[in-house]
């Protein structure tokens, strides 16, 4: 399984998205995952593609072409607003 997490306003847009994907052995990247969501969730995908959005794999920020493996936790992070 690959688990997906959406934070901030991305979480609101991702309410109807399946947050776990069966890993089929095929090597993918966060960029490809986003592409696969496009038809069913165009508003979410538009927000995910905003340039300030970062992606992390297993809690480390990575590039969008980072390879994904079974058991990975992918999180989509909009600009942070703590403090």
């Amino acid at each position: 399984m690959i688990n997906l997490l959406f934070f901030g306003r991305l979480g609101d847009l991702a309410q109807n998205v399946d947050h776990s994907i069966v890993y089929d052995g095929q090597l993918r990247t966060p960029k490809e995952l986003v592409h696969e969501l496009e038809v069913a969730h165009p508003r979410l995908v538009a927000a995910l593609r905003e340039p300030q959005v970062l992606v992390s794999v297993n809690k480390m920020v990575v590039k969008w072409d980072h390879p994904l493996f079974d058991g990975d936790e992918i999180a989509f992070l909009p600009p942070v607003t703590g403090g």
Partner: protein, 163 residues
């Protein structure tokens, strides 16, 4: 050197944090503490005129990643300036105006380092740590946008090579 980082729902007590920071060594010459409170209004965008009355503020974070990122910020500060102890507390969950939201406490030999570390940690907490604020403005919920002024505040630490 002792570092304490807490992301928690519960409120914190300033006096006990101060006492705890002070008690770690007898060589301390300065204690700097910063406490951030929830304001009674919030600007939804980077526009000083757009403030609206706040009902509640809800903080979401990424457990595990947030604590690690705060630890990295503190480590980076300690590579620049020396200190005896650093405590960072950041609250999450639903908060009301005037509640305590964030605490940074630093002890060092002299005040300069403690002031610098506290300011550095706060600037980077706002721009690097995985927290997201949602406001309820009289029943209307909205996520807060990142502020340009916060990004600028953090950027000053990379510009000043003599810091």
């Amino acid at each position: 050197m002792s570092i304490n980082i807490h992301v928690q729902h519960e409120d914190f007590d300033l006096a006990s944090e101060y006492t705890s920071l002070r008690s770690r060594t007898s060589k301390i010459g300065a204690v700097v503490t910063f406490t951030g409170l929830v304001r009674d209004f919030e600007r939804l965008h980077d526009d000083p005129t757009s403030g609206q009355n706040l009902h509640t503020l809800t903080l979401e974070h990424y457990p595990g990643m947030t604590e690690r990122l705060i630890a990295e910020i503190v480590d980076e500060a300690l590579q620049r300036w020396s200190a005896f102890g650093v405590t960072v507390i950041h609250r999450v969950g639903c908060l009301r105006p005037n509640e305590q939201i964030v605490f940074v406490g630093v002890t060092s030999e002299h005040r300069e380092n403690a002031f610098k570390i506290a300011e550095f940690v706060m600037d980077y907490l706002k721009t690097k740590a995985t927290f997201w604020k949602k406001v309820d403005l009289n029943g209307q919920q909205q996520w807060i946008m990142a502020k340009h002024s916060d990004t600028k505040a953090a950027a000053k630490w990379t510009e000043d090579s003599d810091e």
